[in-house]
Symmetry: C2
Subunit: 875 residues, 2 copies
């Protein structure tokens, strides 16, 4: 038998979502439940895939199956498509597996033409209704299928209204509408060079193709990428008998939720319009009524709807979002699906459903999108204020939250303004470690350059500060005190607002409301803790970060970047002195100044973590990052250090690198300057000893050597660490337990992980660098061409946001396998940006890692994602 591509609603059910799409599966399931659904059929997602395989054409066998299904549906409805006396009219709607904005809109009233419109008028005895339906169809079909722009049709409608003194569409008479149809068809002829298609069968096939095409329109591609929807899923097409909400006052149409989608409150929530078709609700010309009014208008229909809603919620065991139409007092269900909801209501609904005994805790956990938790932990714009605002540009949604403030273009000005009590938004071409203080005092950060893992993005996420990064519409003229954002000029001190969750930028100050974490949040986190197998650590470079993360439930620190501590203005001089040292002696002198600061840093972090594991990464960035690049700063530094400008410039030049990402950094620094590793070891151990003495906390520091690619390299540095630790403990006459491990962030480390594990007590995947090396592109530079890669469907998701399982993941798998072979009790974690990405967390669970580590604000997300991974795994 030939492969089945087309299913009657009566042939499907909810479990066939992948094949029929969400909408099609819902219609089939409702049909099965005996609910009133206008009958029709679904052309499957496989037909969509086949359409693309066949070079964008619908194969004859599929056309045959559509014909067959149509015939059966015509029989059920007792009407025939194109019947001049009593035409069968249908709607055509797209329906992918996951709800997907950006795809084709609905086409209603398909089947109308110059002939059938007469039959419809006669049959309904309502000429106005028939021509109103026809003109709507022409416009929708032309716009959606044939790409004739909507405003051209609107202009005609407005002209006819004006000519006839009509204010509203409903003021137009049947004759007026005939005139509209005439002009619409003329417009179509002019635009497309052919008559508006009169053959209903042709209309149908064109509409189906338009749905398939829309799967690959640019908006849909972007949406899929942002929402991790694979491009090969395809969309289904639903062809359904029309029912009319616009045939009189016993008709209507509306949408409703079984619970309040903003609060989660258990009550029917929705709205409806009397005597209207679906698009009228959306168009906003008439204000819809709350659904309660239906109770007054049509009590029986209301009761029936309440009952139906309950059936559906009980059946799906989740809050439902439904569409319905009432035709001549009769209720028809057009769609049901699990309703979208705010993060807060998602938590409440999940908790309520468990309490109501409708679902288990495991099911509740699976219902919550981990990423949505972000919104609970950060301020958001006031919903009414933001509705009126119009964004002027958008960048990358680099760190969530909403913020407003006065614009400043460098860290010093930002700090000064903040000290004056101003709210600040820092706008820069890109940020660098020297901007840290300015970033700290800012409400939000906007950069013109850099991706999701640029300095600005990473640091902002760590701080929990709103950040929009890499907005190419922003041009910064720092020295002139202004920037342009798209076509707007924004001067120092002007107000702007940023939404770090959407990437949007607004002029002026838009009110925000603070983060709100409810008791449901704690409940859900508690459940997540019960189920997850992965531990969740945090990346924290300061006691404040560490404390924040503990508050969110972090179980340890997976990454402390020791270098971040040295960009502080009161510390960087010692660091620079170390860098410009001419020999080991000078270097040791400078390091001796750094040591006590580093000890204090570590003590603060140990105390904040209260005995939880703390992983400390040794100095990682290339040394030139600590040196100034501007002439003025170089002169100032030379004076400060009492060396000649020439000399300093020589040092800076000698540190220049062609490809700093692949240069003298990571453990390579410790190999060439062992005294740096000695100082850092001394600080790690001394701090642990002192904290134990002061608080009784038993600290077991984990020293992490970065950028290792060869076991001998690790051993060389480890030998220094062990010798120094031993010396410190002997001096202090105490014993401290500690571990030495490595970042796995170089492909060669994965390939030779068996050897490396002989020396490393733990591995922590540094998936940022590993991704760079595996793909051979740097995250800073890749943003220039990745756009083309997405639009050309070469990559579907940002490998820096989501672990590339096929390439990078394969290397990780290799490292896990080889590493555990050499050292069965090897501790395994991840500390790259991916540690807070749900799909990557799931992957880490599958790999069998011990923990994921992410920025403090992502800890709850990682915990939930880890629980979901464990639950899915059990199934």
């Amino acid at each position: 038998m030939a492969h089945k591509y087309v299913y009657l609603f009566s042939e499907g059910n909810a479990s066939m979502r992948n094949l029929l799409g969400g909408k099609g599966a819902g219609l089939a399931e409702m049909t099965g439940l005996g609910l009133p659904v206008p009958q029709g059929f679904t052309v499957s997602t496989e037909a969509c895939t086949r359409y693309y395989e066949d070079g964008q054409m619908i194969a004859p066998e599929i056309v045959g199956q559509i014909d067959e299904a149509l015939a059966k549906v015509e029989e059920i409805n007792g009407k025939k498509l194109g019947d001049a006396n009593d035409p069968f009219l249908v709607s055509v709607r797209s329906g992918a597996r996951a709800s997907m904005p950006g795809m084709m809109d609905t086409i209603l009233n398909l089947g109308l033409n110059d002939e059938t419109v007469l039959g419809l008028a006669k049959k309904t005895n309502n000429e106005r209704f028939a021509y109103d339906s026809y003109r709507r169809f022409i416009q929708m079909f032309s716009d959606v299928v044939m790409e004739v722009e909507k405003p051209k049709f609107e202009a005609i409608l407005d002209a006819v209204k004006e000519e006839n003194g009509a204010k509203l569409d409903t003021d137009l008479t049947a004759d007026n509408l005939k005139e509209v149809v005439k002009r619409y068809k003329a417009l179509y002829l002019k635009e497309k060079g052919t008559e508006f298609p009169q053959n209903p069968k042709e209309q149908l096939m064109e509409a189906i193709k338009a749905v398939f095409r829309s799967w690959d329109n640019p908006r849909a591609i972007v949406y899929r990428r942002l929402n991790d929807i694979p491009g090969d899923w395809g969309t289904a097409v639903n062809v359904q008998a029309m029912v009319f909400g616009n045939m009189g006052n016993d008709c209507g149409t509306g949408v409703a939720f079984t619970r309040d989608p903003s609060t989660g409150e258990k009550r029917l929530y929705g709205e409806y319009l009397i005597n209207a078709q679906g698009e009228d609700v959306v168009a906003g010309i008439r204000t819809p009524h709350p659904i309660d009014k239906l109770k007054e208008d049509m009590p029986e229909v209301y009761d029936q709807f309440v009952n139906t809603a309950k059936i559906l919620e009980d059946h799906y065991r989740d809050m439902q979002d439904m569409e319905y139409t009432i035709q001549n007092g009769k209720l028809f269900m057009l769609q049901t699906r699990n309703g979208k909801r705010t993060a807060a209501s998602a938590l409440k609904i999940a908790c309520d459903l468990v309490e109501e005994g409708m679902i288990t805790k495991e099911e509740a956990l699976l219902k919550i999108d981990p990423k949505s938790l972000d919104a609970l932990l950060h301020p958001t714009f006031d919903p009414t204020a933001i509705k009126k605002a119009k964004s002027i540009a958008a960048g990358l949604a680099a760190s969530p939250g909403a913020a407003y403030g006065r614009v400043y273009f460098n860290a010093d000005d930002a700090v000064a303004a903040s000290e004056r009590g101003e709210k600040v938004v820092l706008v820069r071409l890109e940020t660098s470690p020297e901007d840290i203080e300015g970033m700290h005092v800012s409400e939000g950060i906007l950069t013109a350059r850099g991706g999701m893992t640029s300095h600005a993005a990473v640091v902002a996420r760590g701080m929990g500060t709103c950040c929009v990064a890499g907005c190419s519409d922003v041009r910064v003229f720092e020295s002139k005190g202004y920037c342009t954002i798209a076509s707007e000029k924004v001067s120092e001190g002007d107000w702007i607002s940023l939404d770090g969750s959407t990437g949007k930028i607004y002029l002026g100050a838009i009110d925000t409301k603070p983060a709100e974490v409810s008791g449901n949040f704690a409940t859900i986190m508690g459940w997540a803790d019960e189920y997850r197998k992965l531990q969740v650590y945090t990346n924290a470079d300061s006691p404040a970060d560490a404390a924040k993360a503990v508050e969110f439930g972090a179980q340890g620190i997976g990454l402390t970047r020791t270098e971040h501590m040295f960009f502080n203005p009161d510390r960087i001089p010692a660091m620079r002195e170390m860098i410009v040292s001419k020999n080991e002696d000078e270097r040791r002198k400078a390091l001796a100044k750094i040591l006590p600061m580093q000890v204090e840093d570590f003590k603060g972090i140990y105390k904040a973590m209260e005995g939880r594991p703390v992983t400390i990464r040794f100095l990682d960035p290339p040394l030139h990052e600590f040196l100034p690049t501007e002439e003025d700063d170089i002169v100032a530094l030379a004076n400060e250090m009492n060396i000649s400008v020439e000399d300093l410039k020589g040092t800076i030049a000698s540190l220049h690198e062609f490809n700093p990402m692949m240069g003298h950094r990571g453990c390579r620094l410790a190999v060439t300057y062992p005294e740096i590793a000695e100082m850092q070891t001394r600080a790690v151990i001394t701090a642990a000893v002192e904290v134990r003495e002061e608080t009784g906390l038993n600290i077991v520091p984990e020293i992490m050597i970065p950028l290792v690619g060869e076991v001998k390299e690790l051993k060389y540095v480890k030998d220094i660490v062990v010798a120094t630790a031993k010396a410190v403990m002997e001096e202090k006459n105490v014993q401290i337990e500690y571990k030495v491990g490595t970042m796995i962030e170089i492909p060669r480390a994965c390939i030779t992980a068996d050897e490396i594990a002989t020396e490393a007590e733990f591995f922590s995947f540094g998936t940022n660098d590993l991704t760079q090396m595996t793909f051979g592109f740097s995250r800073d530079d890749a943003s220039k061409f990745l756009g083309e890669y997405y639009s050309k469907k070469i990559y579907e998701s940002d490998p820096f946001a989501r672990v590339d399982q096929k390439g990078v993941g394969k290397l990780m798998e290799m490292a896990v396998e080889l590493g555990r072979k050499s050292r069965p009790n090897l501790k395994l974690g991840i500390c790259g940006e991916h540690g807070g990405d749900p799909s990557s967390v799931e992957f880490c669970h599958k790999l069998g890692l011990n923990y994921v580590s992410c920025s403090p604000f992502r800890v709850p997300i990682a915990k939930l994602a880890a629980a979901q991974a464990a639950i899915k795994d059990k199934k």
Copy 2:
């Protein structure tokens, strides 16, 4: 039984070379052959490894075995170490598996002290001889074992000579020598704070330890790295009964070869000194006699030696390098080994030995070091001229050959000087593609910066031009018209000489002699062709390169870098126009100008290759490489292009990359600007069509897409290639066969090679980039820290010169396996710098690649290495 660490000569043989070292195995084998060898024992290489494992000490069990062996040797010789009446004296010499300069020198006369010297004097009835031997021993032991500098001893000797009016050492009397001994011992006491060791057993153990230590001295480490000798081999120590060539005129010592090591001629070749110890020959105070004179002096000994030499050559079936001593008219053999020889003589000897029926062709091929062929293909310094020259500095031996010329500091001046008829050496900080023309006219190239795979090195090797790269002693002051090399100032127009085979730099002009390729070369290449399985292709960017490579026997082109063609001054304008284009239309216009040039390039190459396969790589470098960086040049270009300087600077700024190596290059260019790939495809196909029409040659071009990391990326570009090729063929109404494949140079390409092979018809490993990404360091930047890595024994060889089999090799293996799984007839090659490195060629053979591709001058090396790999494989 305990592990055996010490072997009497009579317990070993030639097959135990790994254990006994080269010298030890030779002494054992000669002992077995019944030749006159002073007896002794060898402390094995395993003892050396054990010495390091035990923290630089000799384990008691090994000490025990040494004692035992010593006792047996004392018995054989009938004397005892330290016997005051008739002391047993020994020599101590190092002996690794491979001959290794930089290791410990010989110690003679060990066993002498204040007491035994008297016994020796009495026994030999020659007081002068006894004290001469003692003073020599003190000096050697102090220098070699205890690190008291030799010149201090020489000063004493000179002083005593002067005080006594002696001109030569031999003029000194026994009493004079007693005074020397006295002063030597005083010096030792002063320098070391203890008396010169009098206990012969202690002397012996210290000497053995000194040999072990010398295995890890910096010179030895460097030598090992340059010669691919693993650090864990260790060295053996030979302790042997002394025989004396300095006991009178019936004594002597010398070295000899069974054939002439410079020409290969079959005649005994060597020299000897009457009444002398080995070191006198080396010291050059007395001029040794040619060995023929021995025939006159001691005809019987001479005959015995000729006979011995024949026995040894027949036995080892190779030219032998022998050391011997004659004591009181009796011949003793001290060493035999396969003799070092010049490249030319190596070929002659190999051919002769085959002709003489002594060895097979396979054995002959294995006897020749592939790397040595380089010397035959390039000029070398005149041997007498170079003997007198002293190098002032050394850089990397980046491209072999010797050259002299007048110094110029930029390409334009070099070209101008060359046009005036001058011989030119180009000296630059580093070279860039814009220097190509200047490099072409130069005899030699010297750079201050960059490694073995820097631009200068790669291009020079391709051209066959001598190059010394990355000499950190060179500072270039281009604008001031001079440079400094170490402490010397060298001005424009001054003469210098370079040796690209050693990296040495000389002041002044040193005569060179041209390359000499003999008939033996052709014979050997012919044999290599019989045995090798790998095909050998070449990397060639011009018809001249291609023709050169064909002359050397290249079987195809594995890499044509299309971009090199565009740095020509008459071409770069069109390229720049393309780059600064604001849109596709402008870009297409500029590309249309480039197209005919590219067609001509390819036609020239196709014709030179006469129908052999030609692999053409599409545009690879980031576009900013084609734009100027200096203000003046930017202004000039802006004028030339009729755009504003601001505008051009904006374009240059927008093309800036943080890590160009990991930026917008390779196939990423074709993805964003498909029109570039279209133009290049059009050129490849058009050229093939035209060459076929003009010459009848059937050209099957292989289009190579660089930097692929994902199959969809390759498919996207391949689709453009296929569509364009089809269009061109339709326009011209012809059919041309062609292939589309990819470079494998990104780790992800190796990991997903099964997918990539579904689209690629061939893979070519780009091991330069693959090495960079796998290790996570860029070749340009790594030179700053790799030195430390070598000296700290983390890496033993340069991964850019020799394939890192453990890391990069593993990825290659993966790619081969996965690729062939998807496409069994996948054509596999390598086109990185490694294609001309013998050990890497052997690895490629083992991997089962189809070909290696290297620069034209390395083709013979690769062929021989491929033959050796195949022969070893058969064994």
